[in-house]
């Protein structure tokens, strides 16, 4: 099946640039005439994941593949890894530093939100090596 492949490097140094990749994907999905609900879910899930990458892992890269009926996203970082994935999936659980919380992030809703808005989510993480997060959002015709 034909797909459009997009690649973004996420800068971990500059917090103010977090969200650029998800914004760019959103714009492209709109130009493709993609289903609005799917656009919204991709944008939100990707944004949360992008923020996580900047807060916890000093950035990384994002690969996006847009298919006519679904979008695959891989977010990959070389951060510290997630010690307890089950715990990280709980709403309200957060290890974000205070300076980030002051900006309104780090409420422990990142991963739970990502799960909520995607149709599948897979985490591959290794302590000290990094984390790969695989997301899929399917188009559900209204």
């Amino acid at each position: 099946m034909s797909s459009i492949h997009l690649h973004y490097d996420v800068n971990g140094e500059d917090f103010t640039r977090a969200g650029e990749a998800s914004g760019s994907v959103k714009k492209r999905l709109k130009a493709l005439g993609y289903n609005p609900d799917a656009i919204r879910r991709v944008a939100i899930a990707m944004y949360e994941a992008e923020i996580n990458m900047v807060i916890h892992a000093d950035g990384g890269f994002v690969d996006v593949d847009i298919f006519p009926d679904h979008v695959d996203v891989l977010l990959s970082d070389h951060g510290p890894g997630i010690p307890d994935v089950e715990k990280a999936m709980q709403e309200g659980y957060s290890t974000a530093p205070d300076n980030v919380r002051n900006l309104g992030f780090g409420a422990g809703m990142g991963l739970p939100n990502i799960k909520k808005y995607t149709d599948s989510m897979r985490i591959e993480t290794e302590i000290g090596k990094g984390t790969d997060l695989y997301l899929t959002v399917e188009v559900k015709e209204a």
Binding site: I4, K30, A31, G33, P68
Partner: protein
């Protein structure tokens, strides 16, 4: 109704094909073709930014000349609250309303009165919890149009109430009909407007079939003669029936303040509005009940058809409101239904999509990315498109070619020249 009526029009003789409007347009709705600016109708939201920026005054907003009121036996003026911010040392809006009467209007109904009704209706709807939150104001037609073409998921958040202009026109018509027994055709209702988008709203309204407003007269047009008539006034009849809540709608934050709640935000200036809408769409804005958005900086006083500096006008409005009663207009039960939209706000997906067929759209996007990679990325606008990416899109759509890019063309000429040299 005319789907693509626009109040912004071009005087081709004055247009020299420079890139000022091209670069300023927030929806990338302008292209320069054959040395003149063209508006892509399906993308234009009538915000008026191109009128504001054009140094050659080639962009204009269509509005009615004052003579047009003579076509009607009863002439009604519905002045925007922004009009009250245009005059120096004004301490009573009755001067303005009496001045309008001298201009030939028989009956005046301030739009600020209707604004108070819209505010009350909104408060009631919020209390009843029937609306999808956060609620986005529907008062700025440029913003509503923007949402309609670019923010599909937010269409349902837009407050389904008529604009104060429309409510004012309907209220005024009812009163005049009651007083005179005339029918609608004999009554001309004219909006005194700071805003070209409102002119569009009259001719091709959002969410209703037909506007009750007959025409719009630009503040900038009526201003000189109105000020001189106001100076000559001997008797001031008490006509005004607005409170400070209604008059406050003239400036950014006024409508939100009239919600009398705490969880609101007000953004003004089209770029700021777009940023707020993007964040809303991604659900980053939480804990907010009501969102007021104005395309113009400063709110309606910043409209391109106003004459005074918007911040000066804002200060005057604040001063005027000082000794006004809070609100003088209150809804009756039957008013609510009259203020609600007739139709839903429908997302117009075609404005920005490449093709209706997703396979074709994906194909086109792939080509676009390829073309864009080979463009210089200067976004100089010399090709007639606002950015290199927009040019790539135009090429894929068959509306432009790669050598429209002057840098590409130069390289092509250089290589031909080099080859000639080798012969």
């Amino acid at each position: 109704m005319n789907q693509y009526f626009h109040s912004v029009e071009l005087d081709a003789e004055l247009c020299c094909g420079c890139t000022n409007c091209l670069k300023r347009c927030p929806t990338e709705a302008i292209r320069i073709r054959d040395g003149k600016a063209h508006i892509l109708s399906e993308r234009c939201i009538d915000c008026g930014e191109c009128i504001r920026i054009c140094p050659h005054h080639a962009k204009r907003a269509r509005s009615n000349p004052l003579e047009d009121i003579q076509q009607f036996s009863v002439k009604v003026a519905i002045p925007a609250p922004a009009l009250f911010g245009q005059f120096n040392n004004l301490n009573d809006i009755d001067y303005v309303l009496n001045g309008l009467r001298e201009e030939g209007f028989d009956y005046i109904y301030e739009v600020s009165r209707a604004a108070e009704l819209v505010s009350e209706a909104t408060r009631k709807l919020i209390r009843e919890g029937k609306l999808k939150r956060p609620i986005i104001s529907s008062a700025c037609p440029a913003v509503v149009r923007l949402i309609k073409i670019r923010f599909p998921e937010l269409c349902q958040n837009v407050l389904q109430l008529l604009t104060p202009m429309e409510v004012a026109a309907r209220m005024a018509r009812r009163e005049v009909k009651k007083m005179t027994g005339l029918d609608d055709n004999a009554i001309g209702v004219f909006f005194i407007t700071p805003c070209p988008a409102k002119v569009t709203e009259i001719n091709a309204p959002n969410a209703i079939e037909k506007s009750a407003v007959s025409g719009a007269i630009a503040i900038s047009q009526i201003y000189p003669s109105l000020t001189s008539k106001m100076e000559k006034l001997k008797v001031i009849d008490p006509i005004a029936k607005s409170g400070l809540l209604g008059v406050g709608w003239a400036t950014s934050g006024g409508e939100a303040a009239a919600m009398l709640g705490e969880k609101y935000l007000a953004a003004d200036g089209i770029e700021n509005v777009i940023r707020v809408l993007e964040e809303l769409e991604d659900e980053h804005i939480r804990d907010i009940d009501f969102i007021e958005l104005n395309a113009c900086s400063g709110g309606c006083v910043g409209g391109v058809l106003a004459v005074e500096n918007p911040y000066v006008a804002q200060a005057r409005i604040q001063n005027l409101r000082k000794y006004m009663p809070v609100s003088l207009n209150h809804m009756r039960d039957e008013d609510m239904e009259r203020m609600i939209w007739e139709n839903e706000l429908e997302y117009n997906a075609s404005s920005f999509r490449l093709s209706d067929d997703i396979f074709e759209a994906m194909d086109m996007m792939e080509k676009m990315e390829e073309i864009e990679k080979n463009l210089p990325g200067l976004d100089c606008g010399s090709c007639g498109a606002p950015t290199c990416r927009a040019l790539a899109e135009d090429i894929v759509k068959g509306n432009a070619k790669e050598t429209d890019c002057i840098h590409k063309l130069k390289a092509r000429i250089q290589s031909v020249y080099d080859q000639l040299g080798k012969l």
